[in-house]
């Protein structure tokens, strides 16, 4: 009984295969071909790099060497770092942020005013997200208050540590 079913099945497969082989005859009929050129997909770019080294200036706008400059009450110093932001892509959008780490304040906190890192484009505060390439200026100000009394904070040190600038792409409509 079992052998009969096996033989029947094998026969059916053989018939089917034969039918498929017979279908090859349709190649002889009409056919047509054409080409399409989808073009080239080009990726955009996203990058942030420092443009030169940052510079410190005093209240009068004169460039100073922070490694040797000594502040006194009434001094106000400004640090400026220019960043080249490259953003290319039809749906490109990215947020730029600055994060300070490792700062160590050896001054009496009440005697100094230290700003966070302020990012500007053409003198205006950065409005995230950015969508095109820009020159972004990062600024930090350090003011040793003139109201400091006695000999407070002579020979003190404020270490700014590292300031990290992060350019992070964000999801735009049409991106998943």
């Amino acid at each position: 009984m079992k052998n009969t079913a096996l033989i029947k099945g094998t026969a059916a497969i053989a018939v089917g295969a034969a039918l498929l082989l017979g279908g090859g005859g349709t190649l002889a009929s009409w056919n047509a071909a054409d080409n399409a050129a989808p073009g080239t997909v080009v990726a955009g770019d996203l990058n942030v790099v420092k443009s030169g080294t940052g510079a410190w200036k005093d209240r009068a706008g004169a460039t100073i060497d922070i490694a040797t400059y000594k502040v006194v009450p009434g001094d106000k110093l400004t640090y400026t770092q220019v960043l080249d932001v490259t953003l290319t892509g039809n749906k490109m959008a990215a947020d730029i942020t600055a994060t300070g780490t490792g700062a160590a304040n050896g001054f009496t906190p009440a005697n100094v005013i230290v700003s966070g890192t302020v990012l500007t484009v053409d003198g205006e505060a950065v409005s995230n997200p950015l969508t095109t390439s820009k020159t972004v200026t990062a600024t930090i100000t350090f003011e040793f208050k003139a109201a400091t009394t006695g000999r407070a904070d002579v020979n003190a040190t404020y270490n700014f540590g590292n300031v990290a600038f992060t350019l992070q792409q964000i999801t735009q409509p049409g991106l998943a």
Partner: protein
């Protein structure tokens, strides 16, 4: 019956892996770029004023290493002032040098306050003495008697002394011409407080 133990374990592992992936996915999503800057350190200057007393020749910093105010003797037993006679005056001086290492502008002025004159050995000489002062450029000018003004509680404040600059405050002690002869041989101690102050270097003023 229930879900086999192996299936339950597999489900738990799958859930944990999924949650792990969800929590870190932000760092993989989309492009990001970083740059960093090192602004460096801001250091404050010293406020260092050195004093030289004449005729003693003693030199000291206004503020000692332990932060205390220094005391400078203008005369000593070996370098004493000339003896005073009624109507006569003796002179001494202190020169102050601005030794600050400030990076920017740092000018100071020195103020000599009201003198404290105390008799030595129960005498009464003090009330016949007047102490005057004037601000000059060199100690040699102290011996000219013009320009002295009596030191009061308002004190005498010098002109601005820029970094590495020096100013001289002359002191004149004068014995009244009405001093009685009973004062002969008496002595006094005169103590004058000196204060150095930073002058405002901010164009818009230091409120």
């Amino acid at each position: 019956m229930g879900i086999p133990r192996s299936l339950r374990a597999a489900a738990l592992i799958a859930a944990a892996v999924l949650m792990g992936l969800l929590t870190v996915q932000g760092s993989y999503a989309l492009w990001a770029s970083n740059a960093s800057a090192t602004p460096g350190s801001v250091s404050s200057a010293t406020f260092n004023v050195s004093l030289t007393g004449m005729p003693s020749g003693q030199v000291t910093n206004m503020t000692l290493a332990d932060g205390q105010a220094a005391s400078l003797a203008l005369t000593t037993q070996s370098v004493a002032l000339a003896a005073l006679a009624p109507g006569a005056a003796v002179h001494s001086s202190v020169s102050a040098r601005n030794n600050s290492d400030a990076g920017g502008q740092f000018s100071i002025s020195v103020t000599a306050g009201a003198p404290a004159v105390s008799n030595v050995g129960g005498g009464s000489l003090a009330q016949y003495l007047t102490v005057s002062a004037k601000n000059v450029a060199t100690a040699a000018e102290c011996n000219t008697t013009t320009g002295y003004a009596q030191l009061t509680t308002a004190g005498l404040t010098t002109a601005a002394v820029p970094k590495a600059g020096t100013t001289v405050v002359c002191f004149e002690v004068k014995l009244s011409s009405t001093a009685p002869s009973t004062l002969k041989g008496q002595a006094v101690n005169i103590s004058i407080p000196l204060t150095a102050s930073q002058l405002c270097g901010v164009p818009s003023g230091c409120a």
